[in-house]
Symmetry: D2
Subunit: 361 residues, 4 copies
């Protein structure tokens, strides 16, 4: 379903080639300061970077239609609408019978039948992440009041990997000046080249987005099932093209010994901290007080210009397909702000659910 959250909720709607996309945010306390400009900034950070992104040029002007009055939340549900303007559906109708490899087309056609709006991928389009970025702006504004900060960056694009340990201060807000959202200019150049090489070969390439957050209260999360890591993972997998999520040492922990992987405690300025953060800030499904550290793997964009093998559901015969829509050769750079939004929405929800933030004055 299209709603996430219990205490702080976001519901998204729309489709890639319909009148627009949008969201309803519910449960946000009144009196949070967030206006048009703040929301617009987050949505703009999701726009394709010149050169390495899709040529589809959406203005993405956010319209706040409910729940915000004079740049302050009222306590009523917040609705944000973004019109679709640069639609070109001419290239999509064939996909009804010949599903695109790596896309949601085939299961969606089976699930929704002829009602399914396949234009631009419909409700499965990456365009659905625009309202997520907008909702993330509201969640971030709420969390800032609690001293929680969230920042993400492109940790790898294809085979170009940024193995350096980075802190939140290294990346927060800074990466948005770089087309690939890399942590340094040097990496940005290498990653851009990786993307351009893929595009030149009529291909696409994947990447890993790393997200950090600090300021979480110790104990945040609602085990056994509604854990800090589990809720974050669930939301991350909702972002189109995500295939893996790990916290801290993640899969490499599976190869390690306990004596290496355990994070020893000590006091620092009267606060309990750990010397390492292999746990990625999560113990027993709750925040340990150390920075949250998530890695999210994005597969290469499924839509590539090369000819691919598929089937024709109408004729029952095999077929070839050449995808001619406008697509990003690598989704990871645009996904950076979306991963931040996802983290913000989950944290806001857990903060509300735990009663760390009250719904009322």
């Amino acid at each position: 379903m299209n709603t996430y959250g219990r205490g702080f909720r976001v519901t998204i709607f729309g489709a890639s080639h319909g009148p627009g996309v949008g969201c309803v945010i519910d449960g946000c306390p009144a009196n949070v300061l967030v206006g048009q400009e703040r929301v617009q900034r987050e949505v703009d950070r999701r726009k394709p970077s010149p050169g390495i992104g899709t040529p589809r040029a959406e203005e993405d002007l956010v319209q706040l239609q409910s729940g915000i009055l004079e740049e302050r939340t009222t306590g009523a549900p917040i609705q944000i609408f973004i019109q679709n303007k640069d639609r070109d559906s001419s290239k999509y109708l064939g996909f009804r019978s010949t599903p695109r490899p790596g896309h949601a087309d085939y299961p969606a056609l089976v699930k929704y039948g002829k009602g399914h709006d396949i234009r631009g991928g419909g409700q499965f389009s990456g365009r659905m992440t625009a309202p997520l970025a907008a909702a993330g702006a509201v969640a971030k504004a709420l969390l800032e009041g609690e001293g929680i900060r969230i920042g993400a960056y492109a940790r790898s694009i294809g085979t170009v990997e940024d193995a350096e340990e980075r802190s939140l201060d290294d990346v927060l807000d800074k990466v948005y000046s770089r087309p690939t959202r890399a942590a340094t200019d040097g990496l940005d150049r290498l990653m851009s080249e990786e993307i351009l090489a893929a595009r030149q070969e009529q291909d696409s390439v994947g990447g890993v987005v790393r997200c950090l957050a600090d300021g979480l209260p110790v104990g945040l999360g609602e085990p056994f099932f509604d854990t800090l890591d589990g809720e974050l993972a669930k939301f991350m997998f909702a972002i189109p093209a995500v295939k893996g999520v790990e916290f801290g040492s993640g899969f490499s922990a599976a190869r390690a010994r306990g004596s290496q992987n355990n994070d020893a405690y000590r006091f620092q300025d009267g606060k309990v901290v750990t010397l390492t953060n292999h746990a990625g800030g999560v113990l027993g499904g709750m925040s340990s007080g150390m920075p949250l550290d998530i890695k999210v793997a994005f597969k290469p964009t499924a839509s590539i210009p090369r000819e691919q093998r598929t089937v024709d559901l109408g004729t029952g015969k095999e077929a070839m397909i050449k995808i001619e829509g406008r697509h990003d050769p690598c989704i990871a750079p645009r996904a950076v702000v979306v991963v931040e939004a996802a983290a913000a929405l989950v944290l806001a929800d857990l903060m509300m659910r735990g009663g760390y933030i009250a719904r009322q004055c």
Copy 2:
């Protein structure tokens, strides 16, 4: 919170050193055939293997106290209770002031204060997975009636990796005769040695469990947020010690090109299949009809006999800790049936939610 699911729900309760642990399963249709023996078998598969597991010897006798009459579900909530018998809490009370590295102790003490039952890890103990295995038995019985099969195995223990492609038929039910739940006897020997080596060095080791499932209807999952992969990931992260989850090619997809990673369609016996399964059976958050393929990374057991650095919350000073309870040097083998149960519970929930299975006759 301690409930998972909307259509088919499981609620767990209990604590490691309390009177017992148990679960309530709700939403299961009436007339599913499942009795004491079936539930007991799944719970027994979670028992420590001789030689490589903990010496704590729990009988784990399941008591069906509601919802099953004459080996058939009645439509009422199903309650299963498992007494704790072999409790030894003498080693735990010190952890109130000196939290064990890598454990939930510290955030739990902050969250629940002096009320927290720290004996054996309380509600954060791996013992909470016993009722999950029991609940999994009911979910599996329901799914079998729909032609869905689920099987998991130990894909790696420490640095011993089983890189072979395995099908569900290779592993289903078969791995439970091997102590490590490996796919072959040869791997079982190597993995057992890895575990024993860790134990000998007063250490522990991690591992990866791979889970396969087939027979899912195409389109299973409730995007945008309640996706097949997201729900599975959320549940997997609730299992103690899980640090990473990936589907199909997972993190390696992030390094790949689209032309390599896309799975081409073709027809096979009139059915749409893909030549490869890099997607791991999930497209757009829905089942593609290909086998589900999940990898779950377990960190090494946090409780190790070696002395470790920690803090004393009472004195505010640094301290050393030596953990003397009874623990598994590697959790992955016992987690195999728990991962299967997790998958079964998620699939049962999505099948009910989608109306693939009706609640009533």
Copy 3:
């Protein structure tokens, strides 16, 4: 929170004097036939009747912005927006300090503080029922495909009561030609007079709406907690001004003997029916197969032109208030279509949740 339902969900947003009001409907299967005209008709049935309603004249033009393509649902969330055009907020700002008796003003000001949008009652306005009527149109379209029919009428206005037993066929669609939504022209005249008398005395009057539904499958409802009657009651109490809900013989059952109140079974055309319907179609929280019979009590409109006693929250002194906005002297007639929508939304949700209707093709 502003979302109702688990299987078939409606989320509402907006405020009385903001840019507009609207809803998002989620979980509706694809391929349900419902277009602009159908939705508009239901919304129009909520408009004030000439003579007995408010002078606020809203065009209430519905805009379908997501989830419906060529008069057919796509399976994506459905979004419907209704602009607010005839706003006059000049009369409301004083209510910030002097809450209107019988209104949500006082608790809302305490709950949301200075962020609360008090203009027109904000998110507590009866105007929020416009998107409910719109959502009801979609739910009705879905239910019609399952043979479920829903019809309501004004059973009493003030002291004018329609004690006659009415069947669904007597009222379905027919009452909308009468200003008060009474079941006969004679009653309509009497009820209109009751309303006009109240208006003339600068006063308001209450009423009871009765809602009938048939075609429900026997067993519909999810006891113990998510019962057919409980879910309906919960939704009805969300409608502004509702103070009581009863099923079948309701409160009069409390005065009766079991031998009078029990409904004896018999066969009719091979179907199990009851001779009477004191149960109102609900037994044990489930549909009995007999027509659903709900009575919903609406209090008199709280906003009356007469001077009333209140307090001034600013000065801490008692004060007098004269309410000058535009209001209906009786809300019951306009609530008839809203009660139908509420019933339709609950039934659609329970049908989806029980798997009576599948989410997918």
Copy 4:
């Protein structure tokens, strides 16, 4: 489904003639003082009163099996189990083919088929309210810490009505010394006679329970849908035999004028109060700060010894039924503590959801 609540949750399980009944309470903060004795007292208040109740004599000994350690909640889910001891299923098996009028038998048989456990009404038995009373003890203990008090009494039994205005202080804890839970000894005599007269005529009789609560924070409730009144109503309708719920003036408000029904504000000891409480403590779905005032209508017990008309589902012919189990001729007295428990569970949930009480220390 068998779970109520989001922030403070109760899940019930069991059946009338199974091994026992019980509940799991989740979301309760740690460190709430509540022990065996407190829970047992509430469960005992539900026992049949000598003379006017059923002869079924259940010991109803509560077993706390999880979540409470040394009379203090641990933060883990709380499980309470109550064995069924005095079971006599011999009278029930015939009801499989001849459903009892006024009971859940018929819809349950349709919904769950031959799996349904019809003995004693199975999961639809009034016995399911025993774990509710137990759960209510925990909720009350939590709420007391917040200054919230809840008390109910029998307002009418059959035609004997207690029309007197009663305050919470008049009834709190006091009514449990009287068999009928009436507010005075005189009424208790009259009500007892009403019940005995019904029993003598092999009949049963209904009643109304009124529940009061004070100390609620102004603004409690989560409109638009999760309102204070709507949530309470939903829970009340889950209690077997409830047919109507009203707040404050309720159905009589529908006959009133606004000038009569509005509650004028004034200051009292610096607090905003109303001169009357026709609203029953609820405005716009939120607490007004005035005492909560709910009336709950119970129908006469469906099980009566008199011969009744029914159908034989096996033969397809009409049949007569004589119910020989052990039943209460009036359920209202035993329902008083259950209505209190219901109110406590709803208020605890809304207090947690709103963040009025935090989940963690």
